[in-house]
Amino acid sequence: MSAAPALTPVVLLTGFLGSGKTTLLARLLRDPALSDTAVLVNELGEIGLDHHLLERVDDEVVLLASGCLCCTIRGELAEAVRRLLSRRSRGEVAPFRRIVVESTGLADPLPVIATIAADPVLKHHVRMGAVIATVDAVNGRDQFARHPESVAQAAVADHLVLTKTDLASARETAAAIAALRALNPDAPLHRATDALDAPSLLGERTLLTGGFRCVPAPVGARPHGDAVASLSLVFDAVDWTVFGLWLSMLLHRHGGTILRVKGLLAVAGTDGPVAIHGVQHLVHVPQHLPAWPEGGDRRSRLVVITRGLAPHAIERSMTAFGLLPTAPAIAQGR
């Protein structure tokens, strides 16, 4: 077995109660290529996970009165990850190459992501891997309407896995897909009934590639009332300093209502695109991709998914800050 990676990826498996997270995880872990995976779960459900690197994490969310994001630390999760890393370094457990965290169905995924990305110790040892969200084809739309956590789970996912399509009518499945696409227009959508590429799903967080496109939300897909909306913009090169000021100011004031920011930016004075990923108040370290695709579109693309915030207000703000031309950019959202 090869040596552990310098920064061990932590994959987050999220999804609402009963959406099939544990079933999916058990299935993925049967792939021999993933035997070197450590698993952290909040609860041991009825479906037993027969895996040699399985630990339980108790919930402990510490939120100080200031509400500062960096204080929203899941103490038990951070401790469990540290303990795993420590045991690996002492040779007490098999040298796993990735950690999968299965969150509780009612959990907002942000505190888990924030813990991995911002914990002062963990950030030197682990990095955020892919976020996978399971969505029930039968009940998913209803859950989006009733439970804000399920909206956040689907919106932040790098991979969406639609479950129970065998129990849903074709109409229910189509409606669930439309609802998902309104929340998360571009993440790969898999059906649990299809063959799944386990190593790819439990791999690195999918970096946006030069081929990333703004996918408009389906027309009429408003399963959550008018609360959730997406904005997709295509525009020319941006001033990185101004963009940093604008986005940090926007997320400071409205981070709680911005479920996701995702984009590929042409940065003035820089070769190659810069990929941006943000979840509510948290923005991952921007990634500098080596090159634009040959002959491809070299303009910036930005997708913002909001809850209770009008997308046109964001576009207007970007224009006033000088990030968009006075004439409207190509706005594909709603």
Partner: protein
């Protein structure tokens, strides 16, 4: 340390990421870092001027944010700039506020 919450070694701000494989940052060396700090001060002041605040670099290690009457706070990074600006002005600072945006769009 994050002054708000007391967590040692507060989170690295994404706009100030350390140079590492794959990361995009302007924090690649002393000269580039100084240049970016100067640009950030200038661009931040274009926004802050509309709410009566001035930002300046303080010894290349932190920023000084002041009101016109001299009330001042030191801020380490963008992570704390906007919260400090709100404390100094006593009101929310919203990049979607139409009044602020109209002011920003007026010719200088």
């Amino acid at each position: 340390m994050c002054a708000l919450c007391g967590v040692l070694g507060g989170a690295e701000h994404w706009a100030d990421a350390h140079a590492r494989p794959g990361a995009f940052t302007r924090n690649t060396g002393p000269a580039e870092r100084r240049r970016e700090r100067a640009r950030r001060v200038a661009e931040a002041n274009r926004i802050l001027a509309h709410v009566g605040l001035v930002l300046s670099d303080w010894r290349g290690t932190t920023f000084r944010l002041s009101t016109r009457t001299g009330k001042t706070e030191l801020v380490g990074s963008l992570a704390h700039l906007w919260a400090a600006a709100e404390r100094l002005t006593g009101r929310p600072l919203d990049p979607l506020d139409p009044v602020l945006l109209e002011r920003m769009e007026r010719p200088a």
